[in-house]
Amino acid sequence: MADGEATRVDRLLDCRGKSCPGPVIELRKAVRHLDAGDVLEVLATDKGAVPDFTAWCEETGNTLLDWRDTNGVYTFHIRKDA
């Protein structure tokens, strides 16, 4: 996705301050309440969040659309596909 292009976000999840395995537990709960095709924006500060969310998406069949690191705060966009 090009920089600055807005992603449609249906729901927000703030996992800042939570450490492993908190973010993936919260992620699963949040995604359960979404409809297929909905996009979740997740904020996290856990150092393992990028590999963990990538693994979580691959394992559950959902899609990690993009992520960025803003001074240690990670923002993810995850689309519910499964």
Binding site: G17, S19, P21, V24, I25, R28, A55, E59, G61
Partner: protein, 198 residues
Amino acid sequence: MGSHTDLSSSMDERIAARVDALLSERLQSAIAEELSRQKKRHVRRLAIIASKGTLDFAYPPLILATAGAAMEWEVGIFFTFYGLNIIHKDKSKRLEVAPIGNPAMPMPMPMPQFVTALPGMVPMATTMIKSLFRQHNVETIDTLLASAVESGVRIIPCSMTADVFGYKATDFIEGAEDMCGAASFLRFAADADIQLFI
């Protein structure tokens, strides 16, 4: 006559090569399709044995179990020996960590191992580790246990060791299953993708 035979045998070879190529192409796509179908259908299973009852060893089984459940895996933990304390209603609130025999444990100041055997060192180390975990936003054992139960992790107490330690079924947290023995858990673990002994 000779040239006619050459022609037909070279035709045969070309036909055979083409058929082989087509067949292998079809087979490969069929196998790939079947594999992806199986991968989609297969629910992974994680079987953990939690055998230790100190605060530091209570974490790994619960963290791995809740992470597995978060990925929609089927997870079961067999709590045996001292690991039973992790799911004991009272004892799980008083898990401790012992610095003796653990030179890797971070201490506020360098100290020889024999000092760690002195009275008061266990509560001191426990307080220290708890505050370290709190500083780093690590969940408490209580919270992780609740998460595990809520996310469907099977909490399985070992009947033999519970009997040895004098624990009753009602001593274990809400959500714990009926106690069982090694054979029952091994059957669950036999079909697991991952088996861990902690």
